[in-house]
Amino acid sequence: MHSFFSRLNTLFAFTLTVLAVLTIGVFFSTFFEKYQDTVAIGVNKPIVKHMTDFSANRKKNDLGVLQLNLDMNLDHLFDWNVKQLFLYLVAEYMTPTNSLNQVVLWDKIIRRGENARFNLHDIATKYYFWDDGEHLKSNNVTLTLGWNIISNAGRLIHVRANGSTSFVFPDNYATSRSASSKSSGQE
């Protein structure tokens, strides 16, 4: 401790130790938090098209097209250990070849301090709803919203919200001309 720099070194090391202990304290203070909430999801005008997926093989696959309504208020999820939320809307259904298919249709990143209340109506899905095959006609699909908690100090938690909805695709394929102008499929 005799020289100026050894005092500075000791002080700096002590500061870092105190910061590390406080961060561990933050981790323990939110260890048992569940981060659960209820959201409202709605589906308008689901249709199925049968066309070639040019990003995959050249076969014709089923493409689902739908509009979404999303209502949620996620302000209370942001405690002092949450840095951002990663929301994703996943569609799950069953086909004769696979017992579970999951397709992500919409996602969003909400950082701390941004608006966490959404009332979206009749928005198009962000990603295409391709089926690997042709089994979307008259199939029962469940839409669930989930989020991924990204903490300051802690585990990465995946949470599925309460409030999932199901809908059934129509029995016939839609032709391109009868699709609505707000569809996200190929024209």
């Binding site: 401790m1 020289s3 002080l11 942001f78």
Partner: protein, 102 residues
């Protein structure tokens, strides 16, 4: 950078070093605890970090420069012996001579 001859002194006494170390440990620890409690109430972790950094800044001002309160117990060195007058005598008789002069 370590061995530059500054025009001011930079060292403290041993008692001063003990006081300085105890002081900055207490200051940073208190600012850390207060920052943790306020951060928990406001649910903002940045408040905790800023509080600890403020505590560090206060400690730097109070304990890094060698203030006079840290120099109140100067080390008492023994008187110097001019060893040139003993350069031709062996070590044994040097010790004997020192015992005689006490």
């Amino acid at each position: 950078m370590i061995d530059i001859e500054w025009p001011f002194y930079t060292h403290m006494d041993f008692c001063g070093q003990k006081k300085a170390e105890r002081l900055f440990q207490i200051i940073i620890f208190l600012f850390g605890i207060i920052g943790f409690i306020i951060g928990y109430m406001m649910q903002q972790f940045s408040v905790t970090i800023y509080s600890v950094l403020l505590g560090t800044f206060v400690s730097v001002l109070l304990t890094l420069p060698p203030w006079p309160i840290y120099r109140n117990n100067p080390i008492e060195w023994q008187k110097t012996i001019d060893s040139r007058i003993y350069s031709d005598i062996s070590a044994q008789s040097l010790i004997t001579k020192n015992f005689e002069s006490l």
